[in-house]
Structures are given as structure tokens and as C-alpha cells.
């Protein structure tokens, strides 16, 4: 294992509740706390553990997005990534374009393994890893909760609807990670200082030969239908009565 590429997306922080703009043109993002997509953080942690287990692989964090996404890449460097690449663009990037862009980086970097989150918590699309694997013509192991490397192969346990599934894949490959794979480390202050000296390259989409496309037109963005607030019952007997009367139990 010489090199691991980890894809990092800048998203609205997990704890922030977004609101829809009054004119329905999107969600209000101004001034909101932005973070590394939590699943990508798990992906990076896994890469660092593979490195620290003795493979000494180089860990390269790659993001696509606005100039401020450098903040999230600095976080990745502080966690322990060796270097970072920002493919800078102000265009909204849909999953297919993201996959094409990461493929262009893969062609330059030739990683043995690409790790990323199973989904980003902003658009919840759950597509980029699978699309990258398809375009690269390499294996995909999605929803990984366990990853074991053995030379040119990897054994991956996947969280699927029925339980757990195990597959074996040849490397290089794309692995998208699920919640239970690991618990990411906390960044320490000295590491933040050190991260400032690590290399962070900024390149343009165009320099990678990728044209930013609008694949899907967002017509309008609306708040979800609200559930009516219900009633409180006073005790278990009343609860059971109501449920029985409604034919629910």
C-alpha cells in the first residue's frame, strides 16, 4: 500500500439545521458552520490507521469546491493526511462531475485505494464512490464497516439491509465507508500548527480537463411538510386504549 486517496467534502455541520430560502431558490448557507462531511472523516481516519499500522502509505486528501474548502483540507492535514489537493470551483458539483473530477486526480496520483464517505450529508445522494469506481473500471465496496487489507486484495464487510455482507476485491479499488468503521480522532492543537506547513495544492477543474456540467436542474427548494403536533396521554392505560381504539395494536 503506497498511496491512499481520501475524498473530502465541505458540508454544513452535522449539528446545524438548515432552512430553506423564502424564494425557494435553495437553502440558506450564509454564516453556517461548515465541516468535513462526517463520513469522509471516517474515511480519512481509516486511511490514517492503515498508514499507522505500518504500511506507511502516503495519505492524500482531495476536495472539490470553493476556495474556503481549504479549511476542511487543513483539518484533514491536522488529522494526519500528508498532503492535500483542492480542485477549486465556484460551481455546484453534482456527483457525476465529482466522480469525473476524482477520476482525473486518480489518473495523476495512481492510488492503491480510494476511500470516501458513503454519502454526503448535504445532498444525501450516495453516488460519488460508485460512479468513480465505474468510470475507473475498478471494484467498489460500499457501506464498509470493516476493511482488511492483504497485499493486492482487500476483504470488506458491508452494512446491508439484511445485516452484514463480506466481499473480496482486488486493488486498486474504491471503498465507501459507513458509520461503524471507526471513530475519528480529535485534532490536537500542535497538529493544527503542523498542518499549516503541509502541502496543499490548488488546481482548477479545467486544468484536469473536466467541464462543470449542470446535469439536473433544481427548480425549487421547499421546506418539508410538517407533521401536526399530537397529543400527550397521561398514563400507559390511556396510551394502550387509544392505540387499541385506532386499531394500531
Amino acid at each position: 500500500m503506497k498511496k491512499i486517496m481520501v475524498c473530502i467534502k465541505r458540508v454544513v455541520d452535522y449539528n446545524v439545521r438548515v432552512r430553506v430560502k423564502p424564494d425557494e431558490s435553495g437553502v440558506m448557507l450564509d454564516g453556517l458552520k461548515m465541516s468535513v462531511n462526517p463520513f469522509d472523516e471516517i474515511a480519512l481516519e481509516e486511511a490514517l490507521r492503515i498508514k499507522e499500522r505500518g504500511s506507511n502509505a502516503e495519505v492524500v486528501a482531495v476536495s472539490i469546491g470553493v476556495a474556503d474548502a481549504q479549511q476542511q483540507l487543513r483539518t484533514a492535514l491536522a488529522m494526519g493526511a500528508d498532503r492535500a489537493i483542492l480542485v477549486q470551483t465556484d460551481q455546484p458539483i453534482e456527483p457525476l462531475t465529482a466522480a469525473q473530477t476524482f477520476l482525473a486526480v486518480v489518473r495523476k496520483e495512481n492510488p492503491d485505494l480510494v476511500l470516501l464517505g458513503k454519502q454526503a450529508i448535504d445532498d444525501d445522494a450516495n453516488q460519488t464512490g460508485q460512479m468513480l469506481a465505474a468510470l475507473w473500471d475498478r471494484p467498489q465496496a460500499t457501506y464498509a464497516s470493516k476493511l482488511e487489507l492483504d497485499g493486492a486484495k482487500a476483504t470488506v464487510t458491508r452494512e446491508v439491509d439484511a445485516g452484514l455482507e463480506t466481499i473480496e476485491i482486488d486493488l486498486p479499488a474504491v471503498v465507501t465507508v459507513d458509520l461503524r468503521l471507526n471513530e475519528p480522532r480529535y485534532v490536537k492543537l500542535p497538529d493544527i500548527m503542523k498542518a499549516k506547513k503541509k502541502p496543499l495544492d490548488v488546481v482548477s477543474l479545467e486544468s484536469l480537463g473536466v467541464a462543470p456540467a449542470v446535469w439536473l436542474k433544481a427548480v425549487k427548494t421547499q421546506p418539508p411538510a410538517q407533521r401536526q403536533k399530537g397529543v400527550m396521554v397521561k398514563d400507559v392505560a390511556e396510551l394502550v386504549d387509544v392505540l387499541k381504539n385506532k386499531g394500531l395494536i
Binding site: 439545521r17 438548515v18 430553506v20 437553502v27 453534482e94 457525476l96 458513503k118 450529508i121 448535504d122 444525501d124 445522494a125 450516495n126 453516488q127 460508485q130 460512479m131 468513480l132 469506481a133 465505474a134 468510470l135 471494484p139 467498489q140 465496496a141 460500499t142 457501506y143 476483504t155 458491508r158 452494512e159 446491508v160 439491509d161 439484511a162 445485516g163 452484514l164 455482507e165 463480506t166 466481499i167 476485491i169 459507513d178 458509520l179 461503524r180 446535469w215 439536473l216 436542474k217 433544481a218 427548480v219 425549487k220 427548494t221 421547499q222 418539508p224 407533521r227 399530537g230 397529543v231 400527550m232 397521561k234 400507559v236 396510551l239 394502550v240 387509544v242 392505540l243 394500531l248 395494536i249
Partner: protein, 315 residues
């Protein structure tokens, strides 16, 4: 006319009800001609089930030994080879569909619309973003094949009988990769109803405090014929297996009744249950956000409430 190819999900014996829900979604598109595709080692039984679904016009089977397990890398090239004859390719938003459809889309060089929750036109749909805190209406280019996953909690299942589709065997000359191999599976299968399709769901959070205590919920579930779910916190803590997780990153469900015990109601959890017909919440904390969405709420200690419900139900 829209020609819609639905990727049928099955375990070799039984077609997953997620497929029937995709059919309902496809039927919402005007003048849709619906084909269900099943891939497997032997799809005789599931192809017959697909043919019986009300509203399905054609069923295609691709039987070959390499299709014994649903590996996206193996399935995708075969689906991509058939797709150009269709205007739409739909898969369910289950772990099967979510793994597979983006690979198909990328092979076709087209985008994917994830988690269709409402159809507004053949190329215009609504889907949730930000854990369901916003709903976006998207329009796709009719000149391209529309690949999508269907948010199964948003659609009723099409009737399993009444259809009489013609079943045809297909072969493709797609080259199948050998770089991805199935090893095995651990299924938490129980005698209880399937969480994703159950009419009743009993669910527990971190307040259960141990895997042992989840037995309280299993007992209640068995009494009322319910499936059992769990919050992310309970799964992370090891009180329940991953397949029981309900929420943004777990299962999105729409039962008749969802009974949440000791679940505070983080937005990521609520997004998984807000299509439930009736939500019941029991929590010690009267300020718990779950009460904002609950139809019936009871402030109380689940360790007293759950056994008492079981006792009042008798048996």
C-alpha cells in the same frame, strides 16, 4: 411513452417488496410501459412473482452463475447493456439499489436522481436533501436516460397479483469483471416482520442502556407482530445490530405505527420515520424533540412503561 426498466431486488426465492414500490412510482409517470429486470443464478420463481405484479408489462431475466449474488460490479454492465432501449432505469433506495444504480448511471454517462419521493412529470421529481429538512424539485434532461432510486417509504407497494406480464430470458455480451467476489453474509434474520415493510415498528434508543434490555422491546414486538428498530446511538453503542438502524443513514421506513422508546429524536432519526402513519413516543424527558412529531406522547420511564404495555395487552 416512457419505457421504464425497474431493477428487481430479490434473494433468489422472493421478490423484495421494494420492487413493488418502484412499480407504483413508475405508474405515476404518464403512459409508462413497465419492465422489471431480475438478475440471478436462477430467477424462475422471482420472475414469476414480478410478472404477477399489477401494472408490470414485461419481465426480463438474466440467469447466469455470476449473478448468484448481487454484486454491483457484475450487475451494472449487464444492466447498462440493456438500458439504451429504455427511457428510465429505476432501482429501490435499499442497500441493493443504492449500491448498484450509480454504477449503472456512470457506465451510461448520465446523472442519477436519488430517493424519488414524488413524481411531477416524466423528468421532474421531488427528493429530500439535508436529512429531509428541505425538499428539492429537480428536472432532468429528457434527451438522456433517467437513472433514479425510488425512496421506498414514499410509495405504497403495487398489488402482488393481477398482472400477467410476459417473461423473457435475456443474455448480454457484457464483459463481467472478476475483480469483485462475494464471500459471505451474516443475516440477522428473525421470525419478526421485516423492518422496512412492517406495519408496526417498536424502536429503542440509547436509554435502553444495554443489548439485554432490548429484550423488553423484542417481547413487546412479538406480542403485537411488530418489527424492531433502533436509533443510531443504540446501534453505535452495540445494543442492536446495524440492520436495525432507522434514520438518515439507516433505514427510512413508513409503518402504520412507529413506537419510539427512549429515543430523543435527533433530526437524523426523525427523517427516517416521518412517513409513519402514527408516531408514538415514550421518553423521560418532556422536552425531547421526538414529542414535536409524535401523534401520541407519554412522558415516562420506558423500563416501567414497556412492561406495563405488555401486561395490559395480556397473553
Amino acid at each position: 411513452m416512457s419505457k421504464i426498466l425497474i431493477l428487481g431486488e430479490h434473494d433468489g426465492r422472493t421478490l423484495n417488496p421494494a420492487t413493488h414500490k418502484c412499480v407504483t412510482c413508475a405508474k405515476a409517470i404518464a403512459d409508462a410501459q413497465i419492465t422489471v429486470l431480475v438478475l440471478g443464478a436462477d430467477t424462475t420463481a422471482v420472475a414469476a412473482q414480478a410478472a404477477a405484479i399489477h401494472g408490470v408489462h414485461h419481465v426480463l431475466r438474466i440467469d447466469r452463475p455470476e449473478n448468484a449474488h448481487p454484486l454491483a460490479a457484475t450487475f451494472a454492465p449487464q444492466i447498462a447493456a440493456l438500458a439504451p432501449a429504455y427511457t428510465h432505469v429505476f432501482g429501490p433506495s435499499t442497500s441493493f439499489g443504492k449500491d448498484l444504480t450509480p454504477r449503472v448511471a456512470a457506465l451510461l454517462g448520465v446523472p442519477q436522481v436519488s430517493d424519488l419521493m414524488a413524481v411531477e412529470g416524466a423528468y421532474r421529481f421531488r427528493r429530500p436533501i439535508y436529512a429531509g429538512n428541505a425538499i428539492v424539485t429537480v428536472e432532468a434532461d429528457p434527451a438522456r436516460i433517467l437513472v433514479a432510486t425510488v425512496r421506498v417509504a414514499s410509495f405504497e407497494a403495487a398489488a402482488a397479483t393481477g398482472g400477467s406480464a410476459v417473461v423473457a430470458s435475456k443474455s448480454t455480451d457484457a464483459v463481467l469483471p472478476t475483480h469483485t467476489r462475494y464471500v459471505g453474509a451474516r443475516s440477522g434474520s428473525t421470525d419478526r416482520p421485516d423492518l422496512q415493510t412492517a406495519a408496526r415498528v417498536v424502536s429503542g434508543g440509547r436509554a435502553l442502556a444495554s443489548a439485554d434490555n432490548f429484550k423488553l422491546l423484542y417481547d413487546l414486538a412479538d406480542k403485537i407482530g411488530a418489527a424492531v428498530g433502533a436509533s443510531r446511538a443504540a446501534v453505535d453503542a452495540g445494543y442492536a445490530p446495524n440492520e436495525m438502524q432507522v434514520g438518515q443513514t439507516g433505514k427510512i421506513i413508513a409503518p402504520e405505527v412507529y413506537m419510539a422508546f427512549g429515543i430523543s429524536g435527533a433530526i437524523q432519526h426523525l427523517t427516517g420515520i416521518k412517513d409513519a402513519r402514527t408516531i408514538v413516543a415514550v421518553n423521560k424527558d418532556p422536552e425531547a424533540p421526538i414529542f414535536e412529531v409524535a401523534d401520541l406522547g407519554l412522558v415516562g420511564d420506558l423500563f416501567q412503561v414497556v412492561p406495563e404495555i405488555s401486561r395490559l395487552l395480556g397473553g
